[in-house]
Amino acid sequence: MQTAPKTLFDKIWEQHVVVPETEDTPAILYIDLHLIHEVTTPQAFSLLRENNLKVRAPQKVLATMDHSTPTVPIGSLKDLDIVSEKGPAQQIRDMMQNCEDFGIELYGFDSKRRGIVHIIGPELGATQPGKTIVCGDSHTSTHGAFGALAFGIGTTEVAHVLATQCLLQRKPKTLAVNLNGRLDKGVSAKDIILKIIGQIGVDGGTGHAIEYRGDTVAYLTLEQRMTICNMSIEAGARAGLFAPDQATIEYLHGRPMSPKGVEWDRALRVWKELKTDAAALFNQEVDIDVAALTPMITFGTNPGMVMPIESIIPDHKGNQSFKKALDYMKFESGKPLLNHPIDVVFIGSCTNSRLSDLRDAAKILKGRKVAENIRVMIVPGSQSVKTEAEAEGLDKIFKEAGAEWRESGCSMCIGMNGDTVGSGKLAVSTSNRNFEGRQGSGSRTILASPKTAAASAITGSVQDPRKFEN
């Protein structure tokens, strides 16, 4: 009997079904890797304690601290109370206690491998093709870049996975996003995903898992694919995936948690099968002309309110929510944003804080100075990224340009521990959300690529990076 053609998503899903879905009950889906951090786990651990439950598979949990950790250097935990706000400091201590009590290895303050959970998973080789990966964080979609089925969950579900290594799930629909053509100079992966969100809308992917396909994929590095998958959730999608290929294999080879020896050979055989069958159908398809893209910037208070950097802000056409967003941003329809003065530049977050992002920024900042009265904060995604960047001298380029160079963490993307834009201030940020107050109460955010952010840092205004690319 011939089996029906399947998508990559279908294949991973089916391999993880413990109990199949029925009309009355969702599937029980097995989770291979559970990433946890300090902010969305305390209540889950409390739930385990109240019910006298253990963590079923501590070896399948990867724990770190990123969301509310301070990004100023601290030598030891004793310094925490000096540099940290009280709430986050307590949360950090509780995380250490929880991991100790439940036998979970924690990449804590003393670890050279600490960092943003979505940066260290791939970096350590814990993220692998074909795995199911979850985390109490919506940007878990990042790991789909490796051909893993990865999605964000709530804290109750974190408790479910800790206790059972499983989740109750209804199978989502599938959406193919076909990427065609090569990126032009000065244009980045960030611009691709911003374009997609603008085209399909912030709820265009709701109820769907996206597979990114098309001839562009062969030209995208894993770091670029991660940027794209990362913001799949900003289009409402449950997950975003790229089929694994030679680039995926090369990225994972030799990583600390990658399979070794015969296990590696076995993994390669399995990973080769992880692709959508030629005749498989998606519930929806969308085409994106990557070659025609120019740098993208947001102008409103969600990532779907986005336009090419040279455009003018569109008309609100009487839409009250759109109008409210422009009022919040203090922007007007019909006006350009190019050369608009800014206060802050943030380069970091799980979207854009990997080595290639920092290199992109450094290339533009090298030998130049950031504009006066502009605060520029550059936050590497992990301590490993920090070390690698420093080995290349990127930190010197940033500091000489007048930017702040920090320890790793989510930092100004979520603004939980002092790293905030400031009320009323306008930031060009490489993060993923331009929601009202996302980067601290009253903050106003323009989302852009690291190249656009670096160019804007130099002029102190929204700037086209192509001006600085030779």
Binding site: D24, T25, I28, T40, Q43, R56, G152, T155, T156, Q165
Partner: protein
């Protein structure tokens, strides 16, 4: 978990589209370790001005919102961050259901695990509700329908297992734990 079968409650309208979970509860409150009292952080940056005084322009601070237990919100409610603090704060504040034309997936999942019912209606009903602020709605999980004050009843979609759990006070974790042997069998097969 308390069983929920049918209830009647007053609505309050918040027609903004794409209300994200950062608005429902800003990140600075995510350091809270418990759910009790978290309702005071709900819509904090909309409810309060910079000095911490209630913002009288915001609907939840107006008399029309008093006793309202159903929030009628614009399209794509609950997008953004996966923080379960969003439904926790809505529930702790006193909301029992949210009505919209669509919900973000993670928010919807999180709500159903906390006894907060996401009710999807078509744009016609949605507009009717916006035109009748403070109207009474009957939410009936048994028949999966809402009844408007004008007597019209419309059905709403709800994931059948979540509905069963809400109506019977079943904890979903217990359900998964009951499948321990299947989980072990799956794990053994993978090794």
């Amino acid at each position: 978990m308390k069983e929920i079968i049918k209830f009647s409650a007053k609505t309050v309208n918040l027609p903004n589209e794409d209300i994200d979970t950062d608005q429902i509860i800003p990140a600075r409150f995510l350091t809270r370790q418990t759910m009790v009292g978290i309702g005071e952080c709900l819509f904090a940056d909309w409810r309060f001005n910079k000095s911490g005084e209630p913002n009288q322009d915001f609907i939840l601070n107006q008399p029309v919102a008093s006793d309202a237990e159903i929030l009628v919100a614009g399209n794509n409610f609950g997008c953004g961050s996966s923080r379960e603090h969003a439904p926790w704060s809505l529930v702790d504040y006193g909301f029992r259901a949210i009505v919209s034309t669509s919900f973000a997936d993670i928010f919807k999942n999180n709500s159903l695990k906390n006894g907060l019912i996401p009710i999807v209606v078509d744009s016609e009903i949605h507009q009717w509700l916006f035109k009748h602020p403070g109207t009474k709605l009957i939410v009936d999980l048994k028949n999966t329908e809402i009844t408007l004050e004008n007597g019209n009843s419309v059905s709403f979609p709800i994931e059948p297992f979540a509905r069963y759990c809400l109506m019977n006070g079943v904890d979903q974790l217990d359900y998964i734990l009951n499948h321990d042997s299947e989980i072990s069998a799956y794990e053994n097969k993978q090794q």
